[in-house]
């Protein structure tokens, strides 16, 4: 045998051995939606028109929370002649949920801070869902005990054990404590702010926020620069604030505007000096609200249908679409269209939009990975017990939420939903990195992340499924949110109206709903159905 042959044979045997190797994990799972190939197909360009365009009053494009809320508002006004097109097989966007024999579980957004009495649209929705129980003597809303996050709400893993809460008090110095209180004193100051018209600096949805110059000025610098300027150097405090940025925006202290950083805390305050608003949650996360919104839609909801071209004519809007489930071209001629998808899709689909509105190119979306781990039994918990939100300090990920927490199940099988934003500065590079991960690489990432806190986890996992979100949430980078050209993206383009949480620069259920209701009310007004606003 020649030396070269020998080497080749050895390499082949090694490869054969590697192929027969035991699977890396004692459990199974898969990568689940969204359909990356289908979405990216849009970029390809020309699509022939369908044979006919069916007449309809309104087409809503996109079945996320914004599109569902637009449909909810239209139906609420008695306008039932609409279709809602959703690219995926299930509506809900990043509020989607799943369900297996153990529990329902979220695929992304999983809670809602209780709304204040001025957030009419959210209150109306929660009332419909039976979560709003009434109002107290002061006129503030009261919510069902079973929908409010059950205590213990949060715990953090550090120094080899779990601790109650998200801010790590163990080992904090006097200076850490001083800065912690000084920061929340600043937050209180902003929570108390009212402009000349009586509007707060920070409120949810952001359409209620003041545009006073001193508040808007916060958007001009990064959260990191704002903290530096005020001497907030405590590593624990900065960890907490960085965690908040990653959690809510998929960005970091230096890629988040100071306005957005303070918004996270100040907009959730019940009042200066008071606690943050309690959170509402369900085993399936915000999928609970999605289920409520989709239920009355019936066959007006068209899943697996992707709008490929939208162009205004003088007497309406033509919507050409690809029905992926039936593999055929479909089309509608609508009086009005509500485009409730992201701008990076709109620019490919709505004729003339990209040229007319270059500001849309400034929007950056952070990619996310979400994994659902179905466990046969719970890991051993010798220190602070399992909470709803479970965070690891020394991790790029955000930790996990236990789906059975809210359904009161403290023993036996559970589903953990693990979150990781790809928060690096370059969104496109991060997206490419995420897209390159196959299932074993994703599973490895999840298990390696959780191993320090749960060394016994591997033997307990029955399934591990992974969702790769390429464009999970808009990043509120400095200078974006109050840029007039960015804010103008929410205005109608001919007879096409826009609704998406991205238009707030903040990825929140309330923002998506606010834009959906606004766009629907624009359409209702254009068709002469002016009524009382739900906003």
């Amino acid at each position: 045998m020649k030396r070269r042959d020998f080497l080749a044979t050895s390499a082949l045997s090694a490869a054969a051995l590697a192929c027969r190797r035991k699977p890396e994990f004692p459990f199974q799972g898969e990568l689940v939606g969204p359909d990356l190939a289908l979405g990216h197909w849009l970029r390809g360009g020309a699509f022939p028109d369908p044979e006919r365009f069916e007449p309809v009053s309104v087409v809503v494009v996109g079945g996320g929370v914004a599109g569902l809320s637009a449909a909810w508002r239209l139906a609420g006004a008695g306008m039932d002649d609409f279709h809602l097109l959703e690219l995926e097989r299930e509506p809900g966007g990043t509020s989607r949920s799943g369900r297996n024999h153990v529990s329902a579980f979220p695929w992304a957004a999983h809670y809602l801070p209780v709304p204040d009495r001025g957030n009419h649209a959210v209150l109306r929705l929660l009332d419909e869902c039976g979560v709003l129980e009434g109002f107290d003597a002061k006129g503030d809303p009261r919510f069902a005990e079973e929908a409010t996050v059950r205590s213990p709400e949060e715990r953090i893993f550090a120094y080899g054990q779990w601790w109650e809460g998200l801010y790590l008090r163990a080992g904090a110095s006097a200076e850490d404590e001083r800065q912690y209180h000084a920061f929340f004193h600043e937050v209180d100051r902003w929570a108390a702010f009212r402009d000349a018209k009586g509007r707060p600096a920070f409120s949810i949805p952001r359409s209620r926020c003041s545009d006073a110059p001193e508040a808007m000025a916060l958007d001009g610098l990064s959260f990191a620069a704002w903290l530096d300027a005020r001497g907030f150097s405590s590593p624990r405090l900065r960890w907490l604030l960085d965690y908040a940025c990653r959690d809510d925006y998929g960005s970091r202290l230096d890629t988040t505007s100071a306005w957005a950083g303070l918004f996270y805390f100040a907009a959730r305050k019940q009042g200066p000096g008071e606690d943050s608003r309690p959170l509402l949650t369900w085993p399936e996360g915000n999928g609970f609200l999605v289920d409520h919104l989709r239920r009355p839609l019936g066959d007006r909801l068209r899943c697996g249908v992707m709008a490929v071209a939208i162009r205004g004519e003088k007497d309406g809007v033509l919507v050409a679409a690809w029905d992926h489930l039936n593999q055929r071209r479909v089309g509608w001629k609508a009086k009005r269209v509500i485009f409730a998808g992201p701008q990076h899709v709109a620019r490919h689909v709505v004729a003339g939009l990209a040229e007319a509105r270059p500001a849309a190119a400034r929007i950056r979306n952070a990619p996310w990975m979400v994994a659902n781990l179905t466990l046969r039994a719970r890991p051993k918990e010798p220190t602070f017990p399992l909470a709803w939100d479970n965070v690891l300090r020394d991790s790029e990920a955000l930790g996990y939420v236990a789906a059975t927490h809210q359904s009161l199940k403290d023993y036996g099988p559970t589903v953990l939903t693990w979150y990781r934003p790809f928060a690096g500065a370059d969104c496109d590079a991060e997206r490419a990195r995420l897209r390159a991960l196959d299932w074993p690489a994703c599973a490895r990432m999840v298990m390696e992340d959780l191993r320090p806190a749960h060394p016994d986890l591997e033997g307990l996992v029955a399934r591990l499924d992974v969702m790769r979100w390429g464009h999970a949430m808009v990043r509120p980078e400095p200078g974006l949110l109050w840029d007039p050209a960015f804010r103008a993206l929410a205005r109608p383009f001919g007879a096409v109206h826009f609704a998406h949480t991205e238009l707030s620069g903040l990825a929140l259920f309330e923002e998506a709903q606010d834009h959906g209701v606004r766009a629907a009310e624009e359409v209702l007004a254009a068709s002469g159905r002016r009524g009382e606003s739900w906003r």
Binding site: E145, R150, P385, S407, Y411
Partner: protein
């Protein structure tokens, strides 16, 4: 040659002293058998079955040992010493091994009969080999008479001393270790008695000393075994210990009574549990004497059921307890079963193993007209949720409009705020509440809350013939002395769990 060997004892062998070893090893052998039998009846219940099977397996293993002895040809003295050391190790550690196996594995019976088999086989080898060692020194008829007499006498000593002296003074674990030490001592002693047959003895004696040291360490620093460690915590002997997926269940026995602990917290003492369970059950029946369908949440020990069954109106009792290990123990562990009068076997009783709150939330059925809530104190979040306004609302969904509820609600003296927090929470859930209390010596002053959706008057009648409660004393329980009287508290909700924090703070003062 065999039995026609020399008639006179050789001067080098000390036959009478070897006969004394027979007495000792016979005692040891019987002790291991008794340890295994007692331990398995404590843990598995049904002592007739346990003793019969343990004795059967043990005796047949001895037969096997006797048979195997013929295959040992040479070096009899050396083999005998080895045998002593083997019995010392396996027999001596049998009790700790079995307790651990029961507490931490699902294969207790396999380990039990395995240990009994090994010890029995080794013990079965002892006498034939010793007789063959002695056969050249003693006439056969004297040999057989002497050995068997001492063998049976050793058994008598062991069987009398085990229940009267060793069990009460040392407990099972230390008894088995102590006799292991005795076995090893016999081994060491024989290295002197049989020195002429052994050849070089240094290594053998070292082995003996090593085994003795191991057993002595086991005896002295028995903290290596959680059970023995716990015995120091519990102050009394542990007779039952089991880790279920939900909790650690321990029964201890001492000073004329026995106690149940869950995760180290006392749940009852057989000496005064009647006070607690009479107070939990009968005042509610005092208001609603005709209750037919009764729900019990918690109370897997079956003691509340025992009290409920005294009421002839009761047609059905549903008991929802989280832990099957708990309700199994109530059914099968002889001491607990005797205390609860085999209440869980009553045809009117239906046992459901589920988290009571999840069960209330996820199931439906005909309403109950009396509910008894008997959970451990709220010292974890998982227990704290069972004292929330949400729990009491879910409970009401399963009750008739005039149903009575009684809730164990910790000590109004030691944890005054916690006690009144429970009452306030029940009120916030829409119940009319009358709290009451009594003295349960092993707990201290203990409190309950009697409640209903409708207004009701404090009961003045209870079932006649109870050990503690009477018509005269019942109303008195509802009066609170000043140091236990109502204090304002928050309501315990799922989203604040204030009770868990309150309870931890208050009880810290007393520990």
């Amino acid at each position: 040659m065999g039995e026609s060997g020399p008639e006179a004892p050789a001067p080098t062998l000390k036959a009478p002293l070897l006969f004394i070893s027979v007495l000792l090893i016979a005692s040891c052998g019987l002790i291991y058998e008794l340890v295994a039998g007692t331990l398995s009846s404590y843990l598995l219940g049904d002592s007739v079955m346990q003793f019969s099977t343990v004795i059967g397996v043990y005796l047949s293993a001895m037969g096997l040992g006797s048979y195997l002895s013929k295959f040992i040809q040479r070096g009899l003295a050396r083999r005998f010493v080895d045998l002593e050391l083997g019995v010392a190790l396996v027999g001596g550690f049998s009790a700790p091994i079995l307790f651990q196996a029961f507490a931490h594995t699902h294969a207790f019976r396999v380990v039990l009969y395995g240990v009994v088999m090994v010890v029995g086989t080794l013990v079965g080898l002892e006498i034939p080999i010793l007789m063959r060692i002695l056969k050249n020194q003693v006439r056969f008829k004297d040999l057989i008479a002497g050995v068997l007499t001492l063998d049976y006498m050793g058994a008598l000593f062991a069987s009398i001393l085990f229940p009267l002296l060793f069990m009460p003074k040392l407990g099972l674990v230390r008894t088995s270790l102590f006799f292991g030490l005795l076995n090893a001592t016999v081994g060491l002693w024989c290295t002197y008695l049989l020195a002429t047959q052994l050849g070089p003895t240094r290594l053998i004696r070292l082995r003996c000393l090593a085994v003795m040291a191991l057993l002595a360490v086991g005896l002295a620093f028995a903290g290596k075994f959680t059970l023995v460690l716990e015995e120091e915590v519990f102050a009394d002997e542990i007779v039952y210990a089991r880790d279920s997926p939900y909790q650690r269940i321990v029964l201890t026995r001492g000073r004329g009574s026995f106690q149940l602990f869950l995760n180290g917290n006392l749940q009852f003492s057989s000496a005064d549990e009647y006070r607690y369970h009479e107070a939990l059950v009968h005042p509610a029946f005092g208001v609603k004497p005709d209750a037919k369908r009764v729900l019990i949440c918690g109370g897997g020990d079956g003691l509340a059921v025992r009290e409920v069954l005294k009421h002839p109106s009761v047609q059905e009792i549903v008991l929802v307890d989280l832990d099957p290990a708990m309700t199994d123990m109530a059914r099968f562990q002889p001491m607990v079963r005797q205390l609860n009068g085999a209440s869980l076997e009553d045809p009117r009783v239906k046992v459901i193993n589920a988290d009571a709150m999840v069960w209330l939330q996820e199931t439906s059925g005909p309403p109950f007209d009396l509910a008894l809530v008997d959970f451990p104190d709220p010292n974890t979040y998982a227990l704290g949720k069972l004292y929330t306004s949400r729990f009491y609302r879910l409970l009401q969904r399963r009750l008739t409009d005039d149903a009575m509820i009684a809730v164990q609600s910790t000590s109004p003296l030691m944890a005054r705020e916690s006690f009144w927090c429970i009452a306030a929470t029940m009120e916030a859930a829409g119940l009319k509440v009358h709290p009451y209390h009594l003295a349960v010596p092993s707990f201290g002053v203990w409190g309950f809350a009697l409640a209903s959706r409708r207004d009701f008057a404090i009961p003045t009648h209870v079932l006649p013939g109870l050990r503690h409660l009477s018509d005269e004393t019942t109303a008195a329980m509802f009066a609170f002395p000043r140091d236990m009287d109502r204090v304002p508290t928050e309501v315990n909700r799922l989203d604040n769990q204030v009770l868990v924090h309150l309870y931890a703070r208050e009880w810290r003062r007393w520990s």
